[in-house]
Each structure stands twice: as C-alpha cells, then as structure tokens.
Amino acid sequence: MKFYNIFLLSLKKIVRERVWSSAHIILIIIILIAFSTIYPLTKFIGVMASRYINQTTTLIEVRPEAQIHNTLRVEFPPGVPVTINYNEYFNETDVERIMNITHVTDVIRGVELHVRVFPGYSKCIPNKDEVNLTELYIKIVKAEYPDTTREEIISRLREVASMTGLSIDEIVENKLKGWLASGFNLLGIETDKLEGVSSYFNDIIDGRFINPGSNETAISVDKVRFGYVIGKKVIACNSSVDLGDTLELLFTNDKVLGGELYRCYKVELVGFKSPHVFDDMVVDYEFALNIIKTELGEGGGRDILDKLPLYTVLFVKVDSPEHVKAVAEEIMEMYPGAGVYFSGQAASEAYRLLNSIETSLILTFYLTTGVTISVIFLARVFEVVKRRREYGLFRSVGWYKNTIIIFNLVSGLLIGLLAGGFASITLLALKPYLIDLLKVNIASHGLIEYEVSTVVNYMTRNIPPTYMLILNPFIGALISVVASFISILVYLSIPLENALKEV
C-alpha cells in the first residue's frame, strides 16, 4: 500500500473541501479550547479542596502566654542583631505534654526571631552613583501601592521638598536609608515534619517551600521589598531578588553600625510566598537556632543560651478534623490564656465553597469531556455518512476495506492534528482574555478572598497549561482517529450495493 499517495489524496480533499474541512476543524477547535480550560481548572480546584480538608483543618497553632509560661527574664544584650519576638516560650517539657494529648500525632516546633539588618547604605548600593534613586523609589512605592501613579508619587515628593527645603534626591536618599536600615522577621520551623501540612505555611507564589533539613535555604514573603532591604548585590543590579539568588544577610549590631564588622549568612532563595499566614522569612529550625547561638554567643547572652531549645510557636498535628476542637480545648485547659488558633470553621467554610465549585466543575468537566468526544465523534460519523457513495466508489474499483479504513484514519488524523494545533494557538492568543474571565467569575466570593486569589494566581500562570497546549493536537488526533475508525467500521458493514445508492 502506498501511504504517501493516500496521505496526499486525503490532504487534497481536506484542502479543496475547505468549507467542510474548516467547519469540521473549527468545531473541534472550539471543543478542545473548552476542554483545555475546564480540565485543568477542575483538577486544580480538586487539589485545593483536598488540601484544605486534609491539611489546614488538622493543624492547631499554639502560642505561649506570658503570665503562666516560661518567660525570658533576661533581655537580649544591647547590640545583638537578633531578638526573639516574644518573651514567652515553650520548652521541650511543654511539647511532651501536648504530645501526650489523645489524637495528637505530632508537634512541629517553631521559633520566631526578629533580625536587625544594618548593612550600611554604602554597602547596599556600592554602585549608588549608577542607580537613579528617584526611579528606584518610585518603583518601590508602585510595587507596594500599585494604584498609585508616578505623577502622584512625584507630586508628594515635591510637597515634602517644599516643606523641608531639601531636594527631591535628598528626600529619596533618606527614605531609602530608612528602609534599608530595617530588619525582618524570621520563622525557624521543623521542616522535616511539614509533610502533609506544608500547605498551611505554603502559599507559594513562586518556587517551593524549603525542603526538610535545608539549612541554607530560605523562603521570602515579599519579593519586591525584600530585594531592596537585603542583598547589596541585588539592589544594585536589578532592584529585586529572584529564585535561586544567594542572599547575603548582613547582620551587624549597633556597635559596628556603618562599620566594616558584620556577619554574613548566605541563604539560597527557593521560594516566594504570600504574607497570608506568616509575614516572615522561613528557614529550617536548626538554621534559626544556629543563628541565635552564634549571635548570642558573641553578644554575651549566656542566660538565653542556657534555655535553648525554646519555641515561640508550636503547630499541633491532629489525626482528624473531627478531633481538632477537642484537642484545642484540652490545650487551652492545659495552658489557660495561651493563643490557640485553629481554622476549622473558616477552613470548613472554604472547603464547602470550594467543594461546591469543585462539584459543579467536575460535572462540567465530565460534560465537556463527553461533549468533546461526542462532537468530534459525530463530526467523523457525519463525515463518513456524507461520503458514503465515495467510499462505495472506492470499494467498487477494488480498494481493500483496510485501504479505505487507513484512508479514513489519515483524514481523521490530519483533521485532528490541524484542529488541535489551531486550538493550542487560539488558546495562547485567548489566554489574557480567558484569565480575565476566570478572575471575574471566581474572585467574587469575598469570604475566601485570599484562597481564591491564590487559585486565580495559579490559574493565571497555568491556564491553559503547557501540557494541554502540547497535548491538544494529539487529543484532537486521537479522538478523531478513534471516531473515524469506529464510524468507518460501521460503514464498511453496509453491503456495497447499498453504499452506492443515492441517499
């Protein structure tokens, strides 16, 4: 059999019967676009819903209360660049008590620090003269307040300039100095225990959460601002930090402010997360502990060192959502006044809403899948019915049935590939409009605004997903070929004499 001739004949027919072929192809394009959008959407909503029911609702956050718990009576020595955020803390005995509560499966230990970063202005912007500070300032403000216009920012600067008598450049420089001479919160957490609950901490915008035991990785909360505050190299180069960047956290103390002495902690940035749960930079607990030990060791904080390990926050894992309330009550009884937070109700509301969205989307998904297959199938069946006499002619001149099947499959394959390819191109072109459409439809549920915005953020980047763009031609071709095969088999069961009759 000469496949080349069959291919050429099919192609000629498709090209020359352009009205029919176009209608056929457009039909498949439309159906594939719907499929490519709804399929990943339903999949993601399903993942989101299960995350909320399985993870968020089984975790209790516990914070110590001053009056009844261990309290740090000794302040950090002056000049130490690291402070523990709270005077109250849990210790290992507390962890053991909580662990003994029925239905508690594990306790994740955490410590929150405030790190003072005084890198010194000149160190942060070594190429200060090359950087347009006003532009940098405008960029930072716009990142924080996207609705503010450039004109408004400049206008405000002018107002301040007229009131103070300083130049705009001087005002900008002072403001930048103020920002640079700030610090940030750091959450050290037992990352090796986060499996199954990491989503609680893990509103990842980009990148990933730190892996268990990752001592020199970190995840930041504020992508734009972070780059200005820390990292002398970064601010001078591109005004922002990016995944994979090695940040140099320059810890220094009052004694050496503006001087040459500072300690540099290098961390690789592995992810960005939204400031939804913790407005902190996250690192592994051991890494945070090491920072405390190092800085206090030099700063003379021996009293505190003796109390280590200490925990300013605990996350209690419960075996099931239905036991969360009872466990929380027992902890409150054990530590009256302690901050015990569990998002069971909110999570359950979010879950219910997501679940209803999921249910409707899954129904839509099945419907779309069914319609996709049916429409393509019917299009092919109609094609065979329409060409009944043509196939009869082929048989009458001596084409084997197998040859007719292959001819039909080649037509189906070409139509499917073309339609799938065009569907992918159309999806790419429609992507911005599609995202706008999805945002409008989904972001209207105010109750879980944050969760929904996470979904939308995800979708913005992933719908249509790349794999669907690649798969579309093959999905189109596969359904088209299968439909062609079935319909031609049915046709070939018709006696030749009937196939040649005019309808």
């Binding site: 059999m1 000469k2 080349y4 001739n5 069959i6 004949l9 000629k12 027919k13 020359r16 019967e17 006499r389 043509e390 009869g392 002619l393 082929f394 048989r395 009458s396 001149v397 001596g398 084409w399 084997y400 049935k401 040859t403 001819f407 006696p495 030749l496 004499e497 040649l500 005019e502």
Partner: protein, 218 residues
Amino acid sequence: MVDITGKDLCKSYDKYLVFKGVSIELSDGDILAVIGPSGSGKTTLLKIFGLIMKPTSGELYFDDIEVTRIDETRLSDLRRSYIGYSFQEPIFIPSLNVIENILIPYYPYASRSELSRVKENALKILDRLGLSGLDRRRPSDLSTGQRKRVDLARALIKDPKVLIVDEPTANLDEESADIIRDVIREYREMNRIVIFAAHRDEKLFKIASKKLDITKYK
C-alpha cells in the same frame, strides 16, 4: 483473459422477484447486451457481474472461481484486476478533478512512477473519448455526456478483462453516444468481454454478440 459463467442466477428483495434462472456463458470477445425496460432489473444483473452485488441464489464463476462464495478481500482483488464498471449515474469525488477521479483505482497501490505512467494513459483515453483539455476540470463543471464519458474512462483505465457499462448511451447526444459505441466496438476487437445494459439504443444492440432480455426471467 477470462470466462464468465452464470448458472441459474436469481435476485429478489424480500418477496419481490427481480429475475430468476439467468444462466449465461461469456468468453473473450463476447459482448452481452442486457435489454429490457426501465426498472426491469438490468442494472441489478450488471451489478452482480460487476461483483457489486451478490445474487440471492445461483452461481457465478470468473474462470473457475465461484465469486458468490469468496471473501471481501478476494472480491476486491477481482474487482481491481478484472472489472471496469461504468455506472448508470456516474459517481465522482467532487473535490478531485477529472484526471484524479480517473486515477482513483490506482492511488493506494501504484508507485509514483506508475501513477505518472497511468496518468499519461488516462490522458490518451480522455482524448479518445473526446474529452481533451478537460482533465483539470471538476466533475461538477461537466455536462451529463462528459460525465458519463469520464466515468467510462475510469472503467477503461484499468484495461479491464471485463468492461461493464450501465446504460452507456442513455441521455447522451448523438456525438457522445457514437464515441461510446466505438469504444465498445474496439473492446470487442481486443477480445475482451463487454456487458452493457440498454433499452432503446438499436445501434448499440447491433454491436452485441449476445442479448439477454431480462423480462423473460421473471
């Protein structure tokens, strides 16, 4: 060459009898005219000889092959290698032009060089049938007579051992009809079997070596 033997051929649809007891032997150079009025069953008998339809009963032999008992693949082989069939109402692939329609039997099985050789032959046949210069036209752009001749050209392109032509001159102008009669005559001279159905064309009947009045087999 080939011998065709029909023994007691019968065709009926449910209780409606089209014909029965048709027995005939055809060998090289025979021209069989199947005659009878419209709707008498001429086309049905031609389709049985053309291996498009099976008889309800009886036996049909191509040489010693009993064609009513062979499978579809062997039937396809026989259709391709023995038979050229021209329909009463020509069937075309509308999107293909005249020459491409004529080459349909060859597309799946001929190499590119064979295909171009057959194409040259097809152009000669078109020329012989008075259709020179129409090879690039679509069938829909042709007159009834031209379409009939293109259909005949597709039957002839295979240089068949058995040429079957259904109502070859019906509704044609005299010029077109003459051309077709000449071709059938030439085929007789080439010692091939020709079977045609007609009900009015006396000139055509005269070419026939055998006649079968289908009305006598009811």
